[in-house]
Structure formats: C-alpha cells, structure tokens
Symmetry: C2
Subunit: 537 residues, 2 copies
C-alpha cells in the first residue's frame, strides 16, 4: 500500500507518559543501573567477540562464528524469537597469512594488508613496482603497455601528516552545543550516479590491469603512522578481481614511490594466502526479542551492525555497538521486564558494504521505494535508494515505534541526535534525565548519516543515533589495524549499555510511538547549482 | 697530563669578534644562505641515506654502506682529511625477513620485529605463549618449570593509550622561554650501577629462558598504535642471546595476553631470518675537514651520529642530524671558505648503544677518566664514565674550540642550549642574529643530555646542542617503525644546514675559543637522600 503520509504529519507532537507509568519505569531504571554495573557482562562479551572471534567481514568465517555465537548468547540470556534472516550478499573471504617485502634495493618487511575480496597470490610473486596513479578511465592510456609483469601502485603518494590535534577526545559541553544545529536537507541527484560510476571504475581498472599483464596492484593506506585498513568492495559472486591487491602502509608506500622515481624501481615480493568461501552467499541479520504485553502496540528496536572491516578486530566499529545492544538485551531479560511494546534487538550484516542488512530489513518489513531499485542487488541496491519515489509502505510499517542505532565508536553515550525532528527533543530529554549524572543528558537537533538508521529515517520511521565521546575513533581507530579491544573503555561500554536499556524500556512503555517525520523526497534544493564534472576523479 | 683546571676558569668571559672580521663573516653568511637554499642538496642526501641505505644499526650492512657512502660524498664535495677511525664494538646484524603470526584461536598476522642481535629462528618455530612478566631475578622462581616449549611474553601488558596532546608540535616563544632554566647539577652514584645491573639482568634472563627450555621470548612495544621499535643491547661478541626474541606491537601483545589469561593460550608461529656479520667487529666514526689557515688555532667541530635503530630508516634519529652536518660541510666547501680554525665534521657510530663513538673520540683525542674505566669495552665502557676521577687531558685537549651536536630530530633549528654555561649566551646570540628571520634566534641556559656532546661537556669541552622544533619526534617517530624520510620536513633540513654552517664558520673565525666550564665532578649533591632499592625493577 501507499504510505499514509498524513500519519507522519499528525504524530508530530510531544508525548509525555502518565505519571504513574513514569514512576514505575524510574524504579526499573535503578534496577537497570544495578544490573549494568554490579552484574555487568559487557566487557566479557566484548572480549570474546573482539579477541576470540575477531574481524567479521560480512560472510567471512569470523562473521559466521559471530552469527552463531550472538544467537547462543541471546538464548543463554533468555531472549525470545531468536533467529536470523538472510539476504543476497556475495562471497566469504578471509586472510590466513600475508607478507609484503621489498627485496631490492634492500630487504625490508613492509606493513601491508590484502585488499578485501582480492584473490590469493598462490605462493610468493615478485616483480618491480611502477607508480601509475590511476583514478579514472581517462588515465588508462598513459600507462598502456607499461604494466606487464609489474606491481602497479595506483594511489598518488601523499606527504607525511602533521597531526596538530589530540587524537583522543571526550566531548565538552561546548562541543555538544555545536551539534545542536538544524541543517536544511540537501539532495544531490548526481551523488548516486557518482557512486555507481566509482564501483564501475573499480571493475574497469581491474580488467585493464589484467589485460595489461600486471601481476598485482597496491594502494596507499589513507592514514599514516603504519596503520592499514585493507578495504575492498568487489564482493559479489562473479565480480572478484582478477589480480591480487594489497594496501601498503603510507610510510612504506611513499618510500617505494620515491625509490621508483629516483630509479631503479624497487622489487616487491607478495605472498597473500587468502581464502574464499562460497558455501553460502546469503548474509544474515540476527534478531532477538523481549515480547511486549500489548500485541497491538507494535515494537521498539535497538540495532548495531555485527559485521566489521578486516584490518582490526572490529572493536569500535562496531563491536562496541553490538555488545551494548547485547548487554541491554541481557539486562532487560535478566530483570524480566514486561514492556507494553515488544523490544527487538537487531545485529545487522553488510553495513560496511552499504547498510545492506538494515536496508533488507526496511524493504521486507517497513517500506519499499520505486521504481526499479529493489530489483538490484549488492552495492547497486544501496545507491540512490533514499531518492527513489514513490515510497510504498509494507504491512509492518506502523508497528515500529522507535529505532535506536549505535555506531559511533566505543565512547560513552552523551545524549541523542534528534535528527532534525524537533518533536522528539522534549521526549528524549525526559527519558535521558535519569542518566544525566553518568554523562548522557543532551539532545541536539543535528542529523547523522552513514549507518543503519538512515534508510528507516528515509521512509519516516523515527530512527536515532546516540551522541558518543569520539575517543580516538576518527583519528586512528576507525577501520584501521588498531580497531582492537584494548582501545575500548570498559566504563564507557557499561554506561552505554545502561543508557540504551533505559531508552528502550521507556520507549517500549511510552503511551504513544515517537513522532514521525515525512519520508525523504527527491527534491533538488538549489537546482541552478552546477556539479563539478571531475568530482569523481 | 692532568687537566689544567685553571684554563676552564679563566676562559669564562664573553668574547666578541673584531668588527672587520664580523662583517666579512656576515657577507659569507649571505653566501651560505644562497648555497643552502637555491643550491641545496640536503633533501637528496637525506633521500639516499634513508630510502636507499636505510637503517644503520652499528656494524650492520646498512651502516657499512653508510660509512663508505658518506666518505664518498665528502670526497665529491671537496672536503679534506676524509677518513674513518675504528673502535671495538661487536657484531653486525640485519633483518632479511620476519613474520609473527597467531595461529590459534584464529589466524592473524601480527605486527612485530625481531629484537636486535637476537638469533634467527632458522625456519618457522611455533608454540603456545605464556605471559610471564619478568623484570628482575627475583621473578625467576615463579616461572621455573613452566616455560618449556613456550614463547615467553616477558613484558607486563599495558592498557590502550589515550593520547590527549597533539602529536606534532612546533615551539612557540613561550615553549622556548621555559627551556631557559639553569638546573643545578645532580650526581647519582648508584645510577651507573643500576644500568650495569640491567645489562647483567638481560644476560641472566636469556640464560634462564634457555635453561628452562623456552623456544623464544616476546616483549611489548612501548608505544601503541602498531608502532614497533625492536631494540636490543647484547651486541658484543660472545654475548649473543641463546633464544630468538621479538618485540610485538602493543595491540597484538595485549590481545595475546588477554587470550592467554582467558585460556587456552594462543599459539604463535615465528619466522625470523636475521643474519649476523662478524667480518669486522670494529665500529667506525667518519671524519672530514675544511682545513684552517692558522695551524695553532685548533679546530671547531660539528657532529651527529650516523648509526640508527633498526625499526625505521633512522631518519629523525639521526639521519636528520647527519645530513645537516653533511650539507653544512658541502656548503662551506663549495664556498671555498678559508677559516682561521679547521672545521671538522664527525659522523659517530655506536651512539644508540651508549654514545660509544663519541666516547672513543674523547678518550683518544681529548681526555680520559680514571681509574680503570677505560679498560672496559662495549656498554660497560659508557656506564658511569662521566663520574670517574681524575680527568687526564690528552695532548689534543686544548685544540677543540667548540663542538656543535645535532640530535634532536628533524625539526627546524630554533636556537641553542647554553648547557648551563652563561658565558656563551651573548656569543651565541650574536652569532645567531643573522638567522633570526628563519626561526633560529634563542639561546637558553638549559642543559641537554643523552647524545654525543655529553662526554665532551664532561671533560670541559664546550659542546652544545641545538633547540629544535620537536615535530612528532617524541610522540611517534623516535626509534619507531615510522622513523622514515616522509616524516622529515625539507624546509627544516635546509634551514638547519644553513644555521649550522653559519655557527661553524663564525666559531672557526672567532678570536678566541668558546669559554669552557669545569669538568664534571663526582660529588653527591644531597648525600642524605636514599635510593629506592626497587628502582631497577
């Protein structure tokens, strides 16, 4: 059916709970705090997920283990309706061992990581490097005929960074106040096209390198200080790159580039033992519930993506969100709460490849957008999805009363983004008030993007993200080889689990669902603006 | 002969140059600036030393190449009396390739580096880890009987850092003003003992691990963020450790330690292909000169250590100092200056193992300290050297009029430390005045230690260090795997070479040598203080 747009408009009012219900909830909150501090298990949960299971690239063996283990934990803790829901994704992939060495002019072990979903070298391969910065098809001609037998360094080498700011940060009141800014919506009709083109280019580049006889390619890591990230996007069956790719630490990449420029070109030896697993090309979202007492009241949901990148152990992105959601579930289950609405816990897959798990959930349970987009798979399914029209609600659209997403690192929760929805500000302030003393009190109007609440927001579901202390997420941890357990903070994980549990319980018991906003519409705000045709360089 | 102490006292007066000589020098300084900017070669020199030659652990193949190449460059540039002077050191050592992997509970390539001068594994070795923090002999009993077949993690694991300050820094005027503090001399008679004990302990630990059947040992890198350092001190012939050692990046070490604590202990596979070279156990200092016109006027000298650690390419420590000294030599030679005093350029070896190259120079050319100390070799030769008594001047003692050392990273020179010698302050201010506009103008009274001017100061030679912008030297570059060319700043290297050349020329032409201070005496300042007996833990 078509989305009843009037519903979104009429619910834009602040809703307070009856005083009696509120008082009952506040007593429950004291129990949440006790369970989340004195009886906390979140640090042990985190240690197992990050250290023992480790990175969880979607469909990798690590992610498969995590899919099973998280369901086992939910079962142990007494959650209900525990299950997984699959969607088409692509290949599993894992690094068994890898080595990149400079052999001439002198031996040196380089810091590098295979690019995700690139093939194995099948033993050591070696050859001279060539620095051939290629970022668009128009660059192919310059290098044609020069790449045979070479390891092609396709990134333009950068200079050493001068980090002038402290890498580790907690938010001051002033920092948070700056987030309290309504920003008018923007719609860039060409943005999706550019993203599709970029993916197409990756395939064309791979074909070009293969045709030219290159034996491998290398990129420069985008942070320096010997951090590597190893990202890659050709995960679909049939899209696997033809030649191995490695991402090399900036210091090592730049040294190679300088040596190559002065000549003779240095020689590398690459040995990547990586393994594909095509036994199941579906990715899986994991769900668990605390059933509600009123079958007509719908549900509230907390979510975090369980999948990670591969260079670290997926701790701050997004093991932290995962274990806070799991611990909130454990706390509420242990307390035996019987909320009015069902509380659903979701652990998404495929977030790092384009929010694919949460998008699948939206399409199956909330609303679809047309035309045509939903026939696409993989990354293409994500591109421009929020801009398609019309929006068609699914039968379960009305049921989801509130969605809370956690995906801003492992720092303490400091409050909530109202995501341009002024109607929720007083509600959130009220619900956060018991947690002011533990640092979570502010509600700001600002919007956030880039994670699993986005597609819910896009169809008018009230989906929110928490303000979190950034710690060293942006400066060094995010997607890097040091996204490990030891850069998480135990106190923050405990605090976040408590605050999330509190928000879930209050929203599950609230008299009315959270006020909705209109679905995102593909309207160009300033259609007279030109777009830089080279923006895809 | 005994040192004529009265000389030091009588020369404690400020000395100004005659106006004519000063004006001649100032015209020369304009030529230095032209040669050091428009015709600069320092960046190319640095690129070859760091990228092509790379790390220069004393007596390693890299250091041997550097010994030859630096002399060749001095020869090309027209320097005179180019030669090397050897002293007893120990074994050459080099990493050909290395790999440390966790095999169970899951495969992961760890970031690690063999500890210098530890033996090769001769192929892959593997075994479970045991976390056995051992930092003193009294800890041996606790682990006896538990180490057979194990890889012993001897460091106490730390927690993740929270870097609250900007890693990259240039000095403000206020920062420099804080350095302008006279600090009264301190003498700790037990400090040397403690250092000797620490070295003895390293040997006892190695013997213990061997006797207990451990197959390798591992330490935790002292910085986190995936930086490794790989230091080691058992370089003497006959002192080579019996079992291989690796330093593991903090994130990886901590993960292993947590897994081991939760059990079962993870298994590592270590493959270190390292090579010893005993073809020549002498280390060599490199010298070159611009001859003076007055054979009775003695000489001035600039020095920097050519040797480095092994984890990076020895760029900021101390490739930077090396290439600034080399470029100052090139500039002055190219200009064909004919100074009153000889200008000697020294590139030291063995600095990282205890200032051994410059110590050798002091003992052979300036003064010895007794009793007994000078019979010792290696590290023991350095321990407590400055506290021995009496000081006996060598015949060349009077000839060295001034020594300038560079070893504070690759940042711009901002001025000079007067090293507790107030008499030089006005002289240095005068000599620096042409360079104020390029950032080098301040003279502060503060003392510095830890590098090759120390033993000259200790016998009363006026030896000085430059104030330098720290950049990211302390925060991440010093001795680490990112001590590479790309973290140096070309403008700073050019500026430093110019300022050094200017200081050398002015001191070589100065009417009198720089005022001397008294030799360091072994007097306990506050003999009633107790020393913590556990300070050597």
């Amino acid at each position: 059916m078509r989305l009843p747009l009037t519903l979104a408009a009429t619910s834009l009012i602040a809703i307070a709970m009856p005083a009696a219900a509120q008082q009952a909830d506040r007593t429950q909150i004291n129990r949440i705090i006790d369970e989340g501090t004195n009886q906390s298990e979140v640090v042990m949960t985190a240690q197992h997920l990050m250290d023992v299971i480790g990175p969880r690239l979607t469909n990798s063996p690590g992610m498969r283990k995590a899919e099973g283990w998280t369901q086992d934990k939910f079962r142990t803790w007494g959650l209900k309706n525990i299950h997984k829901e699959g969607f088409d994704f692509g290949r599993g992939w894992q690094i068994m061992s890898s080595s990149v060495r400079m052999v001439t002019p002198r031996p040196i072990q380089l810091t590098a990581i295979p690019i995700a979903w690139t093939p194995a070298t099948n033993g050591a391969i070696s050859g001279p490097v060539i620095v051939a910065p290629i970022s668009a098809e128009r660059h192919f001609d310059k290098w044609r005929g020069q790449l045979r037998g070479k390891i092609v360094m396709i990134s333009l080498p950068t200079q050493g960074s001068e980090p002038n700011e402290a890498p580790f940060e907690r938010l001051s009141g002033d920092d948070i106040a700056k987030l309290d800014q309504f920003r008018q919506p923007r719609y860039d009709p060409e943005a999706a096209d550019r993203r599709v083109k970029r993916l197409d280019f990756a395939k064309k580049l791979d074909a070009f390198l293969k045709a030219e006889g290159a034996i491998a390619y290398a990129t420069q890591s985008y942070r320096d200080g010997k951090l590597v990230h190893g990202e890659g996007y050709m995960f679909a069956v049939g899209d696997t790159p033809a030649i191995p790719g490695v991402q090399i630490a900036a210091e090592d990449y730049r040294r190679l580039a300088r040596l190559a420029k002065m000549g003779p070109a240095p020689t590398l030896e690459i040995n990547s033992d990586v393994r594909f697993d095509d036994s199941d090309t579906q990715a899986y979202n994991i769900f668990a519930e605390i059933p509600g007492t009123d079958p007509k009241a719908g549900y509230v949901m907390a979510g975090a993506h369980l999948d990670s990148w591969v260079a670290g152990d997926g701790a701050s992105d997004n093991g932290a969100g995962t274990v806070m959601v799991m611990e909130a579930a454990r706390i509420l289950a242990k307390m035996g709460v019987r909320p009015k609405r069902t509380i659903r816990f979701a652990l998404w897959a495929g977030e790092e490849q384009g929010l694919l798990g949460s998008l699948d959930y939206v399409e199956k349970n909330l609303a679809t957008r047309g035309p045509g987009g939903n026939r696409q798979t993989g990354l293409a399914r994500y591109m421009g999805w929020s801009n398609r029209w019309p929006v068609t609600a699914q039968p379960g659209y009305e049921n989801l009363a509130a969605y809370f997403n956690i995906d801003n690192g492992s720092g303490k929760l400091r409050g909530l983004y109202a995501e341009n929805n002024p109607a929720v500000v007083p509600i959130f302030r009220e619900w956060l008030s018991p947690f002011a003393g533990m640092g979570a009190k502010d509600v700001v109007i600002g919007r956030t993007g880039g994670t699993d609440h986005v597609f819910m927001q896009a169809v008018g579901i009230p989906g929110y993200q928490f303000i979190q202390d950034p710690l060293d997420y942006d400066s060094r941890v995010h997607h890097s080889s040091i996204d490990t357990f030891d850069h998480m903070k135990a106190d923050d994980l405990r605090q976040g689990s408590i605050v999330l549990a509190g928000m879930l319980l209050q929203s599950a018991n609230a008299e009315k669902p959270l006020p909705r906003m209109l679905p995102q519409q593909p309207k160009v705000t300033d259609p007279f603006n030109y777009t830089d045709p080279d923006e895809d360089r």
